[in-house]
């Protein structure tokens, strides 16, 4: 237990004491901010365009329903943020296992009283904490859109849960990739590639030989559909279990890397 606590402490210090973490946080906040304000600017322009081309302006009921903060700002920002995280989260996870391997400290870790499963759990837990903080920081803008748009606190909670679960799923994928290499860049690229492939399989429906059952299966494992329903305010038990199962599977794969190294070197 003491060893586990020491490992958790060390992981926290390494993560929060490293400038790289703050650079990643800054990048996420900055990118989210730019996406948000760009959509807000477009929304204001569109709204004024409709209002000024109709004599009655905002009171005339002539602005189309879909020009509103929710559909024009909030949802597109969430959509873009979902894809952006695929690129940013691996920057946080790439070093977690790969750095230990590159420095050879992973072998030292294995010689401690800790089991490989405990090592994996500690690293996953600390990364999840960091990713959740990252989501809190990036959520300032969508939250502002929600508050301004009067969408409500419950909806806000739903979106945050969805965003955090999506980020945690991407972090899990990134960690699993990091566990199989000593090169941080390879870990980041692998995490990015797997995340992007898993994001959405709708492109496969272009093929006539992909049947409806296959499409349904691929839809069931894609991140986009699961994440999207939270943005709409739906908290579905199936989606929650999906994200938890994905994290557990990634942890099991990361755990297997210790066995794999013993065999394959």
């Amino acid at each position: 237990m003491t060893a586990l606590r020491a490992l958790l402490r060390k992981e926290l210090l390494v993560l929060f004491g490293s400038p790289m973490a703050y650079v990643a946080l800054t990048l996420v906040v900055l990118v989210t901010g730019l996406i948000f304000f760009d959509h807000l600017r477009l929304y204001n322009q569109t709204l004024f365009l409709f209002a000024s081309s109709n004599m009655g302006g905002f009171e005339s009921d002539t602005v189309p329903d879909y020009i509103n903060l929710r559909d024009t700002v909030f949802f597109p920002v969430m959509e873009t943020l979902g894809i952006t995280l695929i690129g940013l989260i691996p920057l946080v996870t790439m070093r977690v296992f790969a750095e230990e391997r590159a420095r050879g400290t992973d072998e030292l870790l294995v010689t401690t009283a800790l089991t490989p499963a405990q090592i994996v759990l500690a690293k996953f837990a600390v990364t999840y904490l960091f990713v959740t903080i990252m989501m809190l920081a990036s959520f300032v803008y969508p939250a502002m859109a929600i508050i301004e748009g009067g969408i409500g606190a419950q909806h806000l909670a739903s979106v945050f849960v969805g965003l955090s679960l999506h980020a945690i799923a991407l972090a899990s994928i990134g960690l699993a990739c990091s566990a199989y290499t000593s090169n941080q860049l390879v870990a980041a690229v692998a995490g990015w590639a797997v995340g992007f492939v898993l994001w959405d399989f709708s492109w496969l429906s272009s093929f006539s030989f992909v049947g409806e059952r296959s499409i349904a299966f691929l839809d069931a494992i894609s991140l986009h559909l699961r994440y999207g329903s939270f943005a709409e305010g739906i908290v579905n038990l199936g989606h929650l279990v999906y994200f938890v199962a994905l994290a557990a599977l990634a942890a099991a794969i990361a755990r297997f890397s210790f066995d794999w190294r013993r065999v394959a070197g």
Partner: protein, 505 residues
């Protein structure tokens, strides 16, 4: 092998990326997808060979245990996810509870189960399609309305066939019949499902000629919304011109009187009396101050109504009306007409009179369906609804639970006459029919009168909140951008720089 696998993954990611960027699966995507899959396959085969060839039996056992662990986690995850999905358990945290289906929608879905299917036609980047997709997916979860999605740009033939005018249109098909819903919400989909279900709620004769509310007028004080709701729920409407009526047609399941402003002719009153005596049904909407000439007839059947206005402190704010004159009712009797209504599901009566009940015969059953609050009193100042000043309260005014809607059954031999009386007609007007739960109350009354089962509470109108369409002024946007958009990243970067500097010391 890891390098090959990584290249395969990158190729697959670019195949998908190119599809997102261009919207079509062109040669670039195709080549990348094929090469990516080949590389992943080769890497997998190579990895297995390496593990089999290079490892001792002891190591193979370690590998097998590890892989078994992954397989177990995967199996458990898939099983749990399938169980959770099958449970259909979800919480609607959206602002307007847009994805919680009403009883009415669920009833219609059950009626059409196995026969209906829905197709969403949308442009690829239409933001509205997301909500519609989720709504249809919620409906599809009942296994009664499978849905698919079609790109509008690829569906020219369907556009002509179904009369699709814009993106985000839903077509519901039942056999050879279809309904096209161009602004899909739960309410409009419910109406389409209702039309396809073709329920038969009976023949309703609507009186005309004595200044009744018009079922064809589209403005706020008209009743065209009520007409649409009646048709949607399967009522067949017939006109009954009171000036030329001396007998109610035998096929009438019920007669509807919508706030006559002038007294009905004596032959029409006599016809209504005869209609009731042979077990007919009557739904009456009265207004305070109205001279319908129905009072003696209703009195014969035990329903009397003082010509007074109910003043209730529990009133809704209506522009131009005196405070207290528009009761918000939330006390309901237990009755099929008030099924699904409770203290949290209020109804709204903009200017209402009350009723008193007295049984004509011992076996008759007369019930109050909607009460005012216990602090309501009666005022004879009938003009109060039009002033912005509350009527003066007489010293002897009695506070009581006044009856705003009543229903009565009169068993006569093997027949049973029924009367439903509303103390207000405006609650069924276009302006107020869809306010709160007025529509449910009115339609339940119609179904009860004609002895048909109502489908349950109906979907509520979901409107885009006015605040959602207000612009954020440029100055506010700039302040937000400088205050939060730049300050937060700056502080984070400063923190990172401090940690970096500290680590160098």
């Amino acid at each position: 092998m890891p390098g090959l696998a990584l290249c395969g993954l990158i190729a697959l990611a670019f195949a998908g990326g190119a599809y997102y960027a261009t919207g079509s699966f062109a040669t670039f995507s195709m080549v990348n997808a094929v090469l990516g899959l080949l590389a992943l396959g080769a890497a997998a085969i190579g990895t297995v060979r390496r593990a089999r060839g290079g490892a001792s039996p002891a190591f193979r056992a370690v590998l097998a245990r590890g892989l078994l662990g992954i397989a177990l986690v995967l199996g458990a995850g898939v099983t749990l996810e399938r169980l959770a999905t099958a449970s259909e358990l979800q919480w609607d945290w959206s602002f307007e509870k847009r994805f919680e289906l009403s009883e009415g929608t669920r009833t219609r879905l059950q009626e059409l189960c196995g026969r209906a299917s829905a197709t969403l036609y949308a442009d690829e980047y239409d933001p509205r399609a997301r909500s519609t997709r989720l709504l249809l997916r919620t409906m599809a979860a009942s296994d009664c309305l499978p849905f698919r999605e079609r790109n509008l740009a690829d569906s020219a033939a369907d556009e002509d066939r179904f009369g699709i005018g814009s993106s985000n249109t839903v077509v519901i098909e039942v056999g050879g019949q279809f309904e096209t819903v161009s602004r899909p919400t739960e309410g409009t989909l419910y109406e389409a499902l209702s039309r396809l279900a073709r329920p038969d709620a009976g023949v309703l004769y609507v009186t005309r000629g004595a200044g009744e509310g018009s079922l064809t007028r589209n403005d706020g004080s008209g009743f065209s919304g009520l007409r649409e709701a009646l048709l949607t729920e399967g009522f067949r409407l017939r006109d009954l011109v009171t000036a030329a009526t001396d007998e109610i047609p035998a096929d009438a399941d019920a007669v509807l009187l919508l706030a006559p402003e002038r007294p009905l002719p004596a032959p029409a009153i006599a016809a209504l009396r005869a209609h009731l005596e042979r077990g007919g049904r009557l739904v009456v909407f009265l207004e305070p101050g109205g001279e319908s000439g129905l009072d003696p007839l209703l009195s014969e059947w035990g329903i009397t109504s003082p010509d007074a206005l109910v003043i209730d402190p529990a009133s809704g704010p209506v522009e131009g009306a005196a405070p207290g004159t528009s009761p918000l009712a939330f006390h309901y009797g237990t009755h099929p007409i008030s099924a699904g209504l409770d203290a949290g599901r209020m109804t709204f009566f903009p200017g209402v009179r009350s009723f008193a009940l007295r049984k004509p015969q011992p076996n008759d059953r007369m019930e109050t369906i909607v009460h005012s609050s216990g602090r309501a009193w009666l005022s004879t100042d009938l003009e109060a609804t039009r002033r912005n000043r509350p009527p003066e309260r007489p010293e002897d005014a009695m506070e009581d639970y006044h009856s705003l809607v009543v229903a009565a059954r009169y068993p006569r031999g093997d027949q049973e006459a029924r009367i439903v009386a509303f103390g207000d007609a405006q609650l069924a007007s276009n302006q107020y029919l869809r306010a709160l739960y007025n529509l449910d109350l009115v339609m339940n009354a119609m179904h009860w009168a004609t002895e048909h089962t109502a489908p349950g509470t109906r979907p509520k109108v979901v409107a885009v909140s006015g605040r959602l369409q207000l612009p954020l002024p440029l100055q506010n946007t700039l302040t937000m951008f400088q205050g939060v958009g730049l300050l937060l990243p700056e502080l984070l970067l400063i923190a990172g720089a401090l940690f970096w500097a500290r680590s160098r010391v």
